[in-house]
């Protein structure tokens, strides 16, 4: 899992089956000092609560789809939690 900051939203009305009502957010991956690393990715919001500006953690690759219901969906990044505090 990785830390990230939600920077925006993506709206798509035509989507693959099973993704109705799932929201897609643009997430900038962060390192442990919360500095941006790498390119932003689009992640499905599996917690249904994340919004722009929030610090979140997300899973990448096929495991991401496991966080969603239904699970058989083509999703490679999913937000699985909202971060309250990071202690390093």
């Amino acid at each position: 899992m990785q830390l990230g900051r939600v920077t925006g939203t993506v709206v798509a009305t035509v989507k693959s089956e099973g993704l109705e009502g799932v929201k897609f957010l643009i997430v900038q991956p962060l390192d442990k000092r919360q500095e941006p690393i790498g390119r932003p990715v689009i992640a499905a919001d599996a917690v249904h609560m994340a919004g722009p500006g929030e610090l979140v953690y997300f899973v990448a690759s096929r495991e991401a789809a496991e966080a969603l219901e239904p699970r058989f969906v083509p999703v490679d990044h999913a937000i699985v939690g909202i971060v309250d505090q990071v202690m390093t």
């Binding site: 925006g8 709206v11 490679d76």
Partner: protein, 95 residues
Amino acid sequence: MQLGRVTGTLVSSRKEPLMEGMKFLVVRQIDADGGDTASYVVAVDAVGAGIGEVVMYASGSSARQTQLTKDKPCDAVIMGIVDTWEVDGETVFVK
């Protein structure tokens, strides 16, 4: 997932038999600010996207998670046609 712009179609007559009947599109990756990047990807189209459209595609084993690409040798699938997106409260793209 990543954002991309469909730049063309790809036709292949000699291919893995499992891939028959699939539509392949050439997708150019774009940044969150809308600018083109240098990378291209060939993706299977699961939503009926057309040339010029901005799409979202999933890569890796997640790309096999559609009815169309299930158990097929596919590592990129277009799973959404983008209508709009915004970054930091600013609308970057409107279809």
